[in-house]
Each structure stands twice: as structure tokens, then as C-alpha cells.
């Protein structure tokens, strides 16, 4: 790994500089992770007197538990839908802003602020809008002949949380797409225009391929977001219901472990989540280093 050509000769100073960061990391990150790993192999008796080492029993039980497997499936559907919906909306908006000359700053400002809204607040906003008794959205949908009640209908609940989670992520994707679009060389677009390519052809044959690194990066970030940062949205809207329809993995870890106090199973779930994060981070770092090389 890189360091400076010349460095300071101090022997102990660098350790002192690193102490605060390493202390926090070891105490609040690595030690708990090791604990989770350890208790994922153990079972505690109901009174907490005795723990026995049970090898992969907790994992085996999880993977044959239809509730957990169902939750895995829901998480996949949720993450995929949020990523697709939010990225496509953002791309359309970014392309539009990139075409506008005078008012693009105003539009950008109006589009980016949801980044600063807490996920749980996003949840409350959407919960209010879709409230089956007084919400405006169910009222309008009823006018169109759709009976909306996400407290009863699992599919509607899933659509509902997907919309809320995508709404929050639009601003983030938008900013990165705008940055990506600005790095597309104008000369290539002009050359294509001279050759007679219209705006749509230019987009699909030149701009979109050149955006591939940004798109790939955002793909990973969005999956990560949908899987881990949406806890607040789920908690404020459906709380995993109705009948587990929106119980994504990160919410299930919390309910099983913190409310259900099933430590062994919850730890095993934590470890599985860690493996997912590690895989996503590895992919991100493997490919992001080579981002935007055109």
C-alpha cells in the first residue's frame, strides 16, 4: 500500500495517532462481530444459565425455516425492485437536467434534498399519504377502482414499501448520474449528431454505455441501501407485516433478537448478513477502483 516517499522518523507517534480509531473499531465493531459469530454456534437454555456448543445447528434450523427462507425471498424482491425503480427514475431525471441549460441548478436543488430525510421520517410521510382511513392515495385509488389496504394485502404492502424506499434514494442516484453524464465527452456526442444520430440514438449508443461504470457502482450501492438502510422505513410503515409480507432480513434480525430474544438464531442471521455485506463490499472495491476510465 502507498505511503509517502519520505516519512517522518517518529517511532511511537503513529500508534498514538491510530489509538482512538482502533479503540472504537475494536470495542464496538470487531468484538461484537466476534461475539455474534461465537453465539451463532451456541444455544442458550431458556434461563440463560448454560450455553452449549451446537456447531451449525442454528444455521441449519434457519435455512429450513420457511419464515426465514420467505424473508430471504422478500428481501431479494424488495432490493431488486427498489434498485430498479429508483435508478431508472433517477436516470431519466438526470438526463433531463443535463439537457436543461439555464434552470438546472434550480431543478437540482429541488431534487436532491430527500437525501437528508431520515428513513424513518420517509416511512412516516408515506404512511400518512397511504393511510387507509384518511390518506389521500387510497382515496384516489378508490376512485380508480382499486381497493387499497396495505394492512391486509401483502402485495400492496410490498409495493408500498418499495415506493417509499425508492423515493428516498432518487436524490442520491440522481447526483451520481448527473456527475457521470457530465464526464461524457461532448465531442463524441457532437460527432454522432453530425453523422445524423437523433437524441435517443445518441443516448443509447454513446451516453448509456459510457455511463456503465456509474450504473454498476450505483447498482451495488442501491442493493446495499435496500438491504440495510431501510430498517427505519419498514419500522415506520408496515413493521414487517401483514403476515411477514415485508419482513426483510435486517428487520427480522431486530425482531427475532431484540424483541423475541432468540439470541442463537439472531446471531446466525447477523452472521449471514455480514457475509452479504462483505460480498457486496468486495465487489464494490474490486470494480470501483476501475471506475470511469474513458
Amino acid at each position: 500500500m502507498q505511503a509517502k516517499r519520505t516519512t517522518f522518523p517518529n517511532k511511537f507517534l503513529p500508534y498514538w495517532l491510530l489509538v482512538p480509531q482502533l479503540a472504537v473499531t475494536l470495542i464496538f465493531f470487531i468484538w461484537p462481530a466476534v461475539q455474534a459469530l461465537k453465539s451463532s454456534f451456541e444455544r442458550e437454555d431458556p434461563f440463560g444459565f448454560k450455553t452449549t456448543f451446537v456447531w451449525f445447528e442454528n444455521y441449519r434450523r434457519l435455512l429450513i425455516d420457511p419464515m426465514y427462507v420467505g424473508s430471504l425471498g422478500k428481501t431479494a424482491v424488495f432490493a431488486f425492485s427498489v434498485t430498479a425503480l429508483s435508478m431508472s427514475l433517477s436516470l431519466i431525471l438526470a438526463v433531463a437536467v443535463n439537457r436543461v441549460l439555464r434552470s438546472n441548478r434550480a431543478y437540482t436543488t429541488l431534487l436532491v434534498w430527500p437525501y437528508a430525510v431520515a428513513p424513518v421520517v420517509v416511512g412516516i410521510l408515506w404512511w400518512f399519504m397511504f393511510n387507509p382511513t384518511i390518506g389521500i392515495a387510497p382515496y384516489l385509488l378508490r376512485g380508480m377502482g382499486i381497493d387499497w389496504n396495505h394492512r391486509v394485502d401483502g402485495n400492496q404492502a410490498m409495493i408500498f414499501v418499495v415506493m417509499a424506499a425508492s423515493w428516498k434514494q432518487i436524490s442520491y442516484n440522481f447526483l451520481f448520474f448527473v456527475a457521470g453524464l457530465q464526464s461524457v465527452p461532448q465531442s463524441q456526442i457532437e460527432a454522432a449528431a453530425i453523422d445524423g444520430a437523433g437524441p435517443f440514438k445518441r443516448f443509447w449508443t454513446i451516453v448509456f454505455p459510457l455511463l456503465a461504470p456509474t450504473t454498476f457502482f450505483l447498482l451495488i450501492v442501491n442493493i446495499n441501501y435496500a438491504m440495510f438502510d431501510t430498517f427505519g422505513i419498514i419500522d415506520a410503515t408496515t413493521q414487517g407485516g401483514p403476515a411477514q409480507a415485508t419482513n426483510i432480513l435486517v428487520y427480522k434480525v431486530y425482531t427475532d433478537g431484540f424483541l423475541g430474544l432468540n439470541i442463537g438464531s439472531s446471531s446466525a442471521q447477523s452472521v449471514i448478513l455480514m457475509i452479504i455485506v462483505i460480498a457486496l463490499t468486495a465487489i464494490q472495491f474490486r470494480y470501483v477502483e476501475r471506475r470511469i476510465q474513458y
Binding site: M1, K4, Y115, L125, F128, G232, M274
Partner: protein, 282 residues
Amino acid sequence: MIENRPVLAFLTHLVLIVGVVIVVFPVYLAFVASTHGSGDFMRGLVPLLPGPHLIENYSFMLNEGISSAGAPPLWIMLLNSLVMAISIAVGKIIISILSAYAIVFFRFPFRMVAFWIIFITLMLPVEVRIIPTFKVVADLGMLNSYPGLIIPLIASATATFLFRQFFLTVPDELMEAARVDGAGAMKFFRDILLPLSRTNIAALFVILFIYGWVQYLWPLLVTTDSRYYTIVMGIKRLAATADSEPQWNFVMAAVMLAMLPPVLVVIFMQRLFVKGLVETEK
């Protein structure tokens, strides 16, 4: 623009306006709800135009709160959020800039080990290690305290990487010149490196302030005493009771207040915000 196509220009603006409406509408609805009296929600549909109770609702929530819902006056929660967000941002910046300095400007045994330990924090968000982390904090007696809210969140790999990246671009000659002039390691850091990092620090502060403000799960776990509630977790408790007794106007006033500070930061420091966001994620 390469060619002039009025239809396409019109479409472009139409797309953007629809986009802005989608983004703004949920918040507009909340704002409207926060300006009405409690009785206005009895008719069965949310009003769509602002009502006359704006100041009344907000000052009620700020000064009194709804104690039956376990919510203290909002100004306490806003203050807690402010303390938490600023401390997290400042704490993360301080410990990250120090460790990046150590990693870039010194050669010492276990340098790679230190780097990897910091890197691992990227892979362990709070959400995946909830219970053991809670247990550590409980064992250290940090439940219901500011340190408990703040310290477990201040390790930061992304900030460390950002500073490392920036330090690597600082010309070697600068440091050599400083050493020739007899400056020690800390003097070089204080008088040369810190002033050079000013914009990076500011951009990072904006991002980290937002990060600290929007924390939800962590305050939810470590605070049971309403004196330490942050606004973001406090409004969830408010909202949970709103369905049984219709106090939508008060809940939405709280929602608006919880949103306002970080949103204002984004709007007024947009340049720094964009810089911070794009650079921390690289």
C-alpha cells in the same frame, strides 16, 4: 445543445416538473397537515391546502410535546439530535484525519494491519450486529447517555479513506521543505496539512452531520430515558399513537421539524454536500 427541438425541450421540462412533484408531494402533504387543527382530520380525508394553525401547532410541539405519547417537548429532542449529529461529525473527522495521517506519513510495523482493521468497519454496519453491540454498550454502562449515543458510531472507514486519498495528492516537496525548516511531525500536521484539508473537512462535515442526524436504530436501542431521545426516534413514538387519537397535525409538525435542519444544510451547502457525497463514495 446540439439541435433545437422544441418538442423535446418541452418534454424535458415536463419530466423534471413531474419529478419534482413526486419528490415534493409527500412533504407538502405533511406540511399542510401540520397547519390544521385536530378536528380537521375527522372528515375522513386529509386537507390539501394549508390551514391557519401553523404557529400554534409548532409552538405547542416545541414547548410542551405530547406527554401521553411519551414524547418530551420537541426542543429537548432537537437539542439531543443536534448534539449527537455534531459530535458524531466532529468525532469522525478528528479520529479519521489522525489515523489517515499516521497511515500515509509514517512507516511502522503493523501499518497494513491497522489499515485493514479500519477497512473492516465498512463491512459491519450497526444493523447486522445489533445485539452484541448493544451488550457491549450496556456492559460499559453507557446506556442513556450521550457517549453511548455517539462513541459507538464514530469509527469511520470512509472518512479515513477520503483523507488518505487527499494526503497522497499533497506534494512530497511540501513535507521535505517543512522538515528542512525544522518542523516536527505534529507541527507539519497542524500548520500545513490541516489548512490544506479545509474544504475536505467542510464537505465531510456536511455528509457526516446528516449521517448523525438520521440515525434511528441506534438511539432506539440505547435510550429508554426520554431525556436522551433524539427527534428522529421520538417522532416514531408519536406516530405510533397518532392512529388511536387523531393528532395528525401535531405529529406532522414534529415530522417537519425533524426534517428541517438536515434539509436546510443540504440546500444551503449544496456545493459542499455534492463534493462530500461524491468523494466519500469513491
